[in-house]
Symmetry: C3
Subunit: 160 residues, 3 copies
């Protein structure tokens, strides 16, 4: 094998690791009271963040910043626990799928809830650094703690 | 260090990453209403899937396909959230340990439940692609949501 | 790129993978009834394990061993499910951040509980093998199952 081929394989593994940590940093900013500046810094200027009707949609880095500035007033506790990454790198573009399992507290009535969702992300390398270009969130359930997802799959007003 | 040694080390890292994604794909097929064809495509022809008495045992790719064809009628929601991988590669064979934490809905009475288990897998490289050769599932608890695992560790009829 | 540079990049990826598995082994020993000898074997002789007031603090490998010898009498079930690693390697030192989401059973009254916490670890390479040099645990909630974290954020006597 030529050294160039091997270098490309190492680069791919580094890219996957950098993207995993990028997503973990997104979650850490969310868990830290939704640090809007931190979150925005991880997205491309033309990025899209779209959760459907659950939490709405934001466009562009500035739109995403504005969207998250209000988020901690909606969820006081929100643990963004992510698992099952499937990351596929193609040059300076990449895709990622994750599971999210998030215990949280809904500030509307100070009640505990479970959010289970899938993330489908696109990533782009910009100036040598991976950023998130798109986050699509597919909510499986968003259930009140006192009832569970079988009895009430979605919080009132949070139906997808 | 010789280039061959370095290539072998990169290969090992690629193998671990491919196995992690293989297991995540297994989980994604399970979460998608137990896609039996998708699940079967990830197993070797002589594979074993064994959960003990909880969900039974299946042998061979075709046995595994048949086993999962009925699964979505038993669990309507099942989020296969996996964590804590310990993957050990030895040539074309590998082993993996994982934790599973699965919120699910039991269709027998449309009730929510928590399944916590350990996976012990064996993997084999076949024609250059990693497949699952064995899945053993060790159930720690499979508890009704309304009681929790301390009050009732296993669903009725799902004792291990 | 020189072969030496590439070898250093591969080494960094191997270090990250070894540290991930080190942490997973720590969790596996904890889940196996808090195997105190196993846990101690993963720490440096001068290590610190500090959970604040929740479970106290231990110093040194022997102090950590002694600390965990009593742990299974406090938590009979404890699933150490870890996610969101951010690992940063610098030569023979490294840091790691993780999320922990732990369903457990409190033996004081045989009740189920949820522990959500952040780990901040330091690791050190000793004789070619990565060990844990420091574990700091920041508890977000430690809530009784029957109430959830919004109604009662911390178990009685387990306030941080």
């Amino acid at each position: 094998m030529s050294g160039d081929d091997l270098a490309a394989r190492v680069q791919r593994l580094e890219d996957i690791e950098e993207i995993r940590q990028l997503k973990a940093r997104y979650c850490a900013y969310c868990d830290a009271g939704y640090d809007a500046d931190g979150i925005a810094s991880l997205y491309t200027t033309d990025a899209v963040w779209d959760s459907g009707r659950t939490f709405g949609r934001a466009e562009g880095r500035e739109g995403i910043r504005a969207h998250f500035q209000g988020a901690s007033s909606r969820l006081s506790i929100a643990r963004h626990q992510i698992m099952n990454p499937i990351i596929d790198v193609d040059g300076d573009e990449a895709t990622g799928e994750w599971l999210l399992f998030q215990p949280c507290t809904d500030t509307r009535d100070d009640s505990a809830a479970w959010l289970a969702a899938g993330y489908r992300d696109r990533y782009r390398r910009v100036d040598g650094r991976w950023l998130i270009a798109e986050t699509l969130i597919d909510v499986a359930f968003f259930a009140p703690y006192d009832k569970g997802w079988a009895e009430q799959r979605f919080l009132t007003g949070r139906e997808p």
